[in-house]
Symmetry: C2
Subunit: 214 residues, 2 copies
């Protein structure tokens, strides 16, 4: 099987924003409320942060449980990794995810300010000043024949879309309006020249969008 490049469980508001305005340490999604964006995922049995039993096993759960299947590496932007901008003042910041980040693969963090690799649990973060093509070559190599996830944020997904490097996208439209922030698209129909599009409403109130290359 060829290695594919996939966006998976990427949540946007009804008006197309993946994150709000004003990211900070206290508010990773800026003015957006992550509890609203991710309520659909938190309710599922396989949500990566679930610690208690229970949860749903319907459509939404098929999506959360598919998150890591067949994935050998992730690429993310620096703003997904942390709220800092510019040169690293120190190396204290180790991501939002605690001692055991949910990636459990090599993760390539795109940044103009490199720093040494950081291993947290089963995840190792590598910091690259690289173009999307260069980063993808590194990620394919590290992924051991498996697929590569482009994990976001918005600017990173857009850069990979503009470079025509993405094969499949799973985007979840949450039933909220953000009005401002970082916008993925005006409408998924913007991509229909290049991608098939399925829109599947879920009983939870989100709509799952599945896009794949024509």
């Amino acid at each position: 099987m060829t290695q594919a490049v996939r966006v998976h469980n990427f949540v946007v508001s009804r008006d197309g924003f993946g994150t709000g305005e004003g990211q900070s340490l206290e508010r990773p999604f800026g003015h957006a409320n992550p509890a609203e964006l991710f309520a659909w995922a938190g309710a599922t049995a396989h949500w990566v942060n679930r610690t208690d039993p229970g949860g749903t096993y319907g459509l939404d759960d098929f999506c959360t449980r598919d998150f890591a299947h067949g994935i050998g590496a992730e690429i993310m932007g620096r703003n997904k990794f942390g709220p800092q901008r510019g040169p690293w003042e120190n190396l204290d910041w180790q991501g939002w995810w605690g001692d055991e980040p949910p990636f459990r693969t090599p993760v390539f963090v795109l940044t103009h300010y490199e720093r040494p690799p950081l291993t947290m649990g089963e995840t190792t973060f590598y910091f690259l000043d690289a173009t999307p093509h260069e980063a993808l070559a590194r990620a394919f190599d590290a992924a051991n024949g498996k697929d590569v996830r482009v994990g976001g944020g918005v600017a990173t997904v857009r850069a990979f879309l503009e470079a025509d490097l993405i094969d499949q996208l799973h985007v979840v439209v949450a039933p909220v309006e953000l009005g401002r922030g970082e916008r993925l698209w005006n409408s998924p129909h913007d991509l229909q020249e290049r991608f098939h599009l399925e829109e599947i409403p879920s009983p939870s109130g989100v709509t799952h969008l599945f896009l794949w290359r024509r």
Copy 2:
């Protein structure tokens, strides 16, 4: 995680039949046309019998690619294994699936007529004269902590439902009427006292039903 018992990608007609009348070597689904029942699956990128590239990556593909994830053993009825009834006349019959069956785990075949285990590729079939509870104990043990799939046919799924041994069901309603054969249910709503039910129409024309224990 507790081991779960799951039915997955089990296809029924709109009128609730999992197979038609008159199974034979030539017609594993009796008068039903398997091409009609499984067209949705055959179109997906991850269909287990796909040999050429291509295929869809939408909702239906999430279901076909989830078929083997987290599964450590399957239980099936003898009529899924083959068209013979009564004592085995010989041991020539090795299943419908050729040299590499798609299960790739231990498979427990319920039959009143035992025979020695049969290994085909990565799958080993064990033939058991056992109750659902007994078969499940064997399958849990063989599944190495993973879930157990109840693979059908209809009589086997019904027996496990009647014994209240099934935790989750994914049933696909194909847009055909069969009129006769082996019936899974009159309506999925028959199970709503015991199971949550989500009904998700797919653009391919099938409806995915997700059921899980209340």
